[in-house]
Structure formats: structure tokens, C-alpha cells
């Protein structure tokens, strides 16, 4: 499925520009085991879009179950297997698998590979004026290691006992005694961590070493800055999870007891473990990764949004330096806030006080970034095209996600809200209408550059409007349910609890909204494939942008080396509507006129 559009991408490149030095490359070298950062970026993009859809479909099954617990899933229920859904009625065990794998797939296989693997790979070398990534072979390896990790995760559904079912957080000791799927999860994670390690090293070295002449640090587009900070987070936060994964694998396979406390009873029997381990240790190691991971998800989205806002307001970003310093500060701080996920574990008030303080501090740079982007809109003559609509919606949506996080970051209020639907609503506002809207904004923005064809604005706007309505229909009621105290992991949606009764009617509403959101994606899918084959030809600089990726390359960029000559950079990234100039924008690589 993915081959035709890649073929078309390259064939336009040849037809339009005819850079033919690499004709001798075989199909496999060029499209499958390619070392060109653009092809690898597209590979990442298509693979992670498939995973995004797959993870969403897992959630659609769960939403069916929550809307009408115990009723047979129509048609699809026949294919889920007797072990998971006898007669089409979902079993609790299967619901747990879906929950764990929805989280895992969305975070590690869909959003991060999309926003770092695809956008980082494709856009960063173009924006800094580099011919490729610093290590092309490593780049290829990182994609294929990711691919293998994804396959392991998918195959785990067919193991006896199904896929991992201990939540995406895999808390011990439950995960240590869980079915075989958890072992597959751990092995899959080791692959994904290795992939992101290789990828993040590559991005950092590329940004440090391969900037074009004149591309100083303060002339980097904000997208590049956000990818740089993100890569440092991936580089330094993932290894502790790898260590934790190794330890849990040792517990499960070899029988050590790193995470197994002494005298643990399960179903009335003492487990055969030496004991003396610490269950909290897993949570510390896990959240040491998983909190920086939140910023891995959101920082590149900030980067994408910044490019699009500057481009479509036709004026420079407000507070570029503040954005840069806030991004770096955010990166540092994200390493010392992890235990705010653990206020309920009894780790003590002193530690809680420390982590709630750092958590309040980290909200400052987030607010600075959001405010700077908001003020950037002021006084601009805004072009409301599809990427800009998604970018504009990102601001309030991420704002809701961020503000609802404050009560979770404060220990006293968290005690009430912990593990309720409020938490689900909070982080989905950050990631779904936040980051995923950022991803869509980026796809609509770079699509003409990548394929050489324009997408349909009408279909894009329909996609935007319906997505925005339905996504709020899913996530906003979660706050109401969460405040009423509905726990997040109940497979019947909370029917057995009387305190949940007044808010249970929202379950059906949210599920209809989720089905609507699924239907709204058809606009995108149709638009995507139709535009690849039949879209009108895009100009070389489709959005009249100033950055090198748009201004200094052809659409699509030439196969090897990206640029005809190494561009020289003369100015900052967002010289829109410069006073006294004839054009409405001054690209970074255009030499100033002789005085």
C-alpha cells in the first residue's frame, strides 16, 4: 500500500528536475532500505500513521464496550476470537489488553515516531541546509529497528493470554506475574528504545555538525530547536526505562525479584520469589522516562505550530529567544518532575512537596511558549488555510490540557483526582487535540513539499471542523466523570458504583463522538490519497515561507543532497513582511542586496 505514493514522490522528482546520478540504485535500496533521510522520513510517517489508525481502532472497540457494556460488538466481534470476545461480547481480560496496547501503540509506535521520526527526519536536515542526516546508515537502522519493535507488539496479540494487559505503565508486581504478552511487550520496548536512541543521536549530531554556513544557533527555525531538545530528552530519559525493562525481563524470565516484595500473596498463595524487591522502584524508573516523554510528545508539536503560525500570520514569531530558552529550560526541568505521578504511593510528604514545586515551576516555560505563540497572532493578517486552522486549534486545546494538569500536579487535589477519568481527559487534551492536531497541521503544511502536489483545502477544512467538534465531545465529558470519581480502568465504565451513576450517561455520548471522530478521518484519508495521485502541482515554495526547507528546495526536494548548492544563511528564520522590502517575505538564504 505504501509503495505507490513513494514511487510517485520520486518520479515527480525525476520528471521535474531530472537529477539522475542515482539511477543505478535498485528499487530495494531506494525505497525499502533507503539511506536518504527523506525516504526514511516518509517510511516513518506512513508506518506511524498506520499505527495511529490501529491504536485508534483499539479504542473504538473499548468505547463500544463502555457505551453498552456486555452487548455483542456488531460484525467485528466475530473476528476477535473466542478467547477474547465469545459471541462478540468483550471479556474484561481483552479490555485490559486493548487498554494497555492502545497506550503503548499511540505513544511509542504512533506519535513519537511520527513527530520525531517522520518530521524530525524529513524536515530538520532541510531546515538547517544539510545534505542528509549525519549518519545515513544509522538512520536506516533506526527505522527498521522501530519496525521490528512494532511487529513484535502486534504479534503479541496472538500469544496465549493475548497481548500485555497491565496498562501501558506496566506497574509491578502485576506485570511481573502477567501473561506471556508482557514479555513480548518488554522485548518490543527494548527495540523501540534502541530505535529512538539511534534516531535521537543522529538528530543531535546533524543539528550540531551539519548546519549550513551562516546558520547560527539563533537563526535556527524553532522546529529545529524543538527537535534538538526533544532528542536530548529521548537520549537521556529512555535508557532508565531500558534498564527497568531489563530488570522486569529478569524478574519474569530468570526469576529474580527486583520488583517483587517479600511474602507476596496472589490468589491465596505465596509466590515463589526470593522477595526483597521494591514495587515503587519500577514506578520511579518508568516515570523517569515517561514524564520527559510527555515533552517529547509536545515540544515538536510546538515547533510545527511555530512554523505554521509565523508563516500564516506573515510576521515574525513574537519572542523567538524566549521560546528557545523556555524550550531548553522545559527540557531540563522535565527530568525532575516525574514523581508527581506517584503522590498516591505513600512516598512521603517531603518528596511530594519537592515534586509538586518542580511541577509548578515547569508550567512556567509551557505558559511562556503558549503565550508567545498567542501574541504572535496579534496584528497579523492571518491566512486561514488548513494547516493554520489546526495550528490555531492547538493553542486552546493544549491550553485546556495544560491548565487541567495543575490540579494533578498539586498533591492535595491529586488525591481526589488520581486514577480517574479526569487524568485521561487531561493528558488526552495534551496529546490528542494537542499533539495530534500538531501532526495534522504538519502533514497539511509539508505535504506539498514532500509530494509536489497540493491537498484539497475543502476536504482539509471539513476534516478540521468535524475532528475539532468530535474530539471535544470525547474528552470534555471525561473531566465531569473524573470529578465525580469514576475510575479510569473499569471495563464496564463504572456501572457497579453508585457514585458514578449521575455521570454514566456520558459514556454513550463520548462513544458516539469517538465513532464520529473515526468517520471524520475519512476526509483526511480520501484527501491524502487523492492528492498524492491527482492533486494540482505544488509550487517550489508553496506557502511563501522563509525557511530553507520551503524556500531553498524544489517540491519535492532533489534525491541526493537536497540542495543544488550548499545554501548560505543571511538572516533569522521568520523575516516576514520586512519593512522596506518589495516582497512579503525574505528567505533565509537570499543574499542581501548591495547597498
Amino acid at each position: 500500500m505504501s509503495v505507490p505514493e513513494e514511487t510517485s514522490v520520486e518520479s515527480h522528482g525525476h520528471a521535474d528536475h531530472g537529477h539522475g546520478e542515482h539511477h543505478e540504485e535498485s528499487f530495494i535500496r531506494k525505497y525499502i532500505f533507503s539511506q536518504d533521510h527523506k525516504v526514511i522520513g516518509i517510511q516513518y510517517g506512513l508506518t506511524s500513521l498506520c499505527f495511529l489508525m490501529f491504536g485508534f481502532c483499539l479504542m473504538i472497540l473499548m468505547r463500544w464496550q463502555l457505551a453498552s457494556p456486555g452487548s455483542a460488538i456488531p460484525w467485528i466481534g466475530n473476528f476477535l476470537g473466542q478467547a477474547n470476545a465469545p459471541g462478540g461480547i468483550m471479556l474484561p481480560e481483552f479490555y485490559n489488553q486493548l487498554g494497555a496496547m492502545h497506550g503503548t501503540i499511540m505513544v511509542f509506535l504512533a506519535v513519537v515516531p511520527m513527530i520525531v521520526g517522520a518530521f524530525g527526519n524529513y524536515v530538520v536536515p532541510l531546515q538547517i541546509g544539510a545534505p542528509d542526516m549525519a549518519f545515513p546508515k544509522l538512520n536506516m537502522a533506526s527505522y527498521w529497528v522501530y519496525f521490528v519493535g512494532g511487529v513484535i507488539m502486534l504479534v503479541s496479540f496472538f500469544l496465549p493470554g493475548g497481548a500485555a494487559n497491565s496498562g501501558w505503565t506496566s506497574y509491578a508486581p502485576l506485570s511481573v506475574i502477567a501473561t506471556m504478552g508482557q514479555t513480548a511487550w518488554l522485548i518490543g520496548m527494548v527495540f523501540l528504545i534502541t530505535s529512538s536512541l539511534l534516531g535521537s543521536m543522529n538528530i543531535i549530531v546533524t543539528i550540531f555538525q551539519l548546519r549550513a554556513p551562516g546558520m547560527t544557533w539563533m537563526r535556527l527555525p524553532y522546529m529545529v530547536w524543538s527537535q534538538l531538545v526533544t532528542s536530548f530528552l529521548l537520549l537521556l530519559a529512555f535508557p532508565p526505562l531500558e534498564a527497568a525493562g531489563i530488570l522486569q525481563l529478569m524478574d519474569r524470565v530468570v526469576g529474580t525479584s527486583f520488583f517483587m516484595p517479600s511474602g507476596l500473596y496472589v490468589s491465596g498463595e505465596v509466590l515463589e520469589y526470593a522477595g526483597g524487591g521494591s514495587v515503587l522502584l519500577w514506578q520511579h524508573l518508568f516515570w523517569f522516562l515517561a514524564h520527559p516523554e510527555v515533552y517529547v510528545l509536545v515540544l515538536p508539536a510546538f515547533g510545527i505550530i511555530s512554523e505554521i503560525i509565523a508563516n500564516n500570520t506573515r510576521k515574525p514569531l513574537w519572542g523567538y529567544k524566549a521560546l528557545v530558552y523556555s524550550g531548553i529550560f522545559l527540557g531540563f526541568m522535565s527530568f525532575i518532575v516525574w514523581a508527581h505521578h506517584m503522590f498516591m504511593t505513600g512516598m512521603g510528604t517531603v518528596i511530594s512537596a519537592f515534586f509538586q514545586t518542580t511541577t509548578m515551576i515547569i508550567s512556567i516555560p509551557s505558559v511562556v511558549i503558549l503565550t508567545a505563540l498567542l501574541i504572535s497572532l496579534w496584528g497579523g493578517s492571518i491566512r486561514f488555510n488548513t494547516p493554520m486552522l489546526f495550528a490555531l486549534a492547538f493553542l486552546p486545546m493544549f491550553g485546556i490540557g495544560g491548565l487541567t494538569g495543575l490540579p494533578l500536579g498539586l498533591a492535595p487535589t491529586d488525591i481526589h483526582l488520581h486514577d480517574t477519568y479526569y487524568v485521561i481527559g487531561h493528558f488526552h487534551y495534551v496529546v490528542a487535540p494537542g499533539t495530534i492536531f500538531g501532526i495534522f497541521a504538519g502533514i497539511y503544511y509539508w505535504f506539498p513539499k514532500i509530494t509536489g502536489r497540493q491537498m484539497s483545502e475543502t476536504l482539509g477544512k471539513l476534516h478540521f471542523v468535524f475532528s475539532l467538534i468530535f474530539i471535544n465531545g470525547i474528552f470534555f465529558p471525561m473531566f465531569l466523570q473524573g470529578l465525580a470519581g469514576v475510575s479510569r480502568r473499569l471495563y464496564d465504565g463504572g456501572m457497579q458504583y453508585s457514585h458514578a451513576a449521575p455521570v454514566l450517561h456520558w459514556n454513550a455520548f463520548m462513544s458516539y463522538a469517538a465513532f464520529g471522530l473515526l468517520a471524520a478521518q475519512l476526509f483526511f484519508i480520501v484527501n491524502f490519497f487523492n492528492s498524492i495521485f491527482r492533486g494540482p502541482k505544488a509550487a517550489d515554495n508553496p506557502w511563501d515561507a522563509t525557511t530553507l526547507d520551503m524556500a531553498a528546495t524544489t517540491s519535492p526536494p532533489m534525491g541526493h543532497g537536497n540542495f543544488e548548492v550548499v545554501p548560505t544563511v543571511y538572516r533569522g528564520p521568520y523575516e516576514y513582511s520586512p519593512p522596506g522590502a518589495e516582497d512579503s517575505f525574505l528567505p533565509q538564504h537570499v543574499a542581501p542586496k548591495e547597498a
Binding site: M201, L235, L281
Partner: protein, 194 residues
């Protein structure tokens, strides 16, 4: 267009690409082993019934000497290439490989002695930490041995075509090797002596 700074350093960073790459990789390795050392500290201080089994300190001391020596020989191998003396590189490269192999053989004797004494990873958490950390470190040694064996064997052809790039490869390998030694320098006292 060629990728710049694969061999010569970039003026403003002072590094060629692979050297920055290996430093970043080592930073992530610090975090990996850092998490494991933290685990060790947390489990040991949190468990009032912690048992520290007596380990074979003389053998481990010998192993420490072997690894430190191999750190010296890998530098001498690199220095040989800098002096355009391929024979010196060969001699000290092979010596490095032998010292690393010696380390692994001694480690194997230690493991088998522990197994025959009835000490297994699942015996208690001290043994679990011991086998996991030394095992992961051993994997790093084996990985390094594979790389230096390749650079001494088929990889050495690059000396004929791109001598500077080949010298850089040995330097990058050397940085990795020093790190692996350094991990052992931490493992030895914390597992055997303290």
C-alpha cells in the same frame, strides 16, 4: 553532495560527526548504568535483610588490572596510527583484544564458581544485581571485542584508502572502550568491596 565533517572536525564544534555521536551514545550509557546503580542502592538500603555474599576479590582485582591495561593498549594502538605506524596499531590492537578476552574468561570462571556454590540470579537480590550488572557489562565487553576484531581484520582495509577516517574509528572505539572500563571501575568496588 557529500556529508560534511565525516573525517575532519567542524571548526566551531571542534568535533567530527562520529566523535560527537559516540559522546552522546556514552551519555545515554551513563543513564543506563546510572539507573542500574540507583536500583542497586535503593534495593540495598531499603532491605534490612540484605545479604552480601563474599565474592572472589583476588580474581576481580586481576580482572581490574586487565581492563585498565587494555585501556592503555587501546590508546597505544590509536597512537600507532597517528604515527603512521600500522605495525604498532596491530600489536596493541591484538593485545587489547587478548586482554578483553582474558577478562571474559576469568569472569566465566567466577560465574561457574558462583553457580557451583549454589548462588544464582534468583537466590536473592544481591545476586540478582550482581549477575544483571556484570552480565550487561560483559555484553558491552563482548560488543567491544567484536568491533576491535573487525577493525583489526576486514575493517583494517580502510587504512589503505582512508587512513584518517580509520584512525578516527580507532579513536571512537577507544572512547567507548574507556567507558566500558570505567563502568567496571565502579562495579568492582560497589559489588565486591563495599
Amino acid at each position: 553532495m557529500e556529508i560534511p565533517y565525516t573525517v575532519e572536525p567542524r571548526p566551531d564544534t571542534g568535533l567530527y560527526n562520529a566523535k560527537l555521536g559516540i559522546w552522546l551514545f556514552l551519555a545515554s550509557e551513563v543513564m543506563l548504568f546510572g539507573a542500574l546503580f540507583s536500583t542497586y542502592i535503593l534495593l540495598r538500603t531499603g532491605n534490612p535483610n540484605w545479604v552480601q555474599h563474599p565474592m572472589d576479590v583476588p580474581l576481580a582485582t586481576l580482572n581490574t588490572m586487565l581492563l585498565i591495561s587494555s585501556s592503555v593498549t587501546v590508546v597505544l594502538a590509536w597512537a600507532g596510527l597517528r604515527l603512521k605506524n600500522f605495525a604498532q596499531f596491530r600489536k596493541y590492537g591484538i593485545l587489547t583484544l587478548l586482554l578483553a578476552g582474558g577478562f571474559m574468561v576469568i569472569k566465566g570462571f567466577e560465574y561457574s564458581a558462583e553457580f557451583s556454590a549454589g548462588l544464582f540470579p534468583w537466590t536473592d537480590n544481591y545476586m540478582a544485581v550482581y549477575f544483571t550488572m556484570t552480565g550487561l557489562h560483559g555484553l558491552h565487553i563482548v560488543g567491544g571485542m567484536v568491533v576491535i576484531a573487525y577493525l583489526l581484520g576486514p575493517g583494517a582495509k580502510m587504512w589503505e584508502t582512508e587512513p584518517e577516517r580509520f584512525t578516527n574509528r580507532i579513536e571512537v572505539f577507544g572512547l567507548y572502550w574507556h567507558f566500558v572500563d570505567l563502568v567496571w571501575i565502579f562495579l568492582f568496588p560497589s559489588l565486591y568491596l563495599l
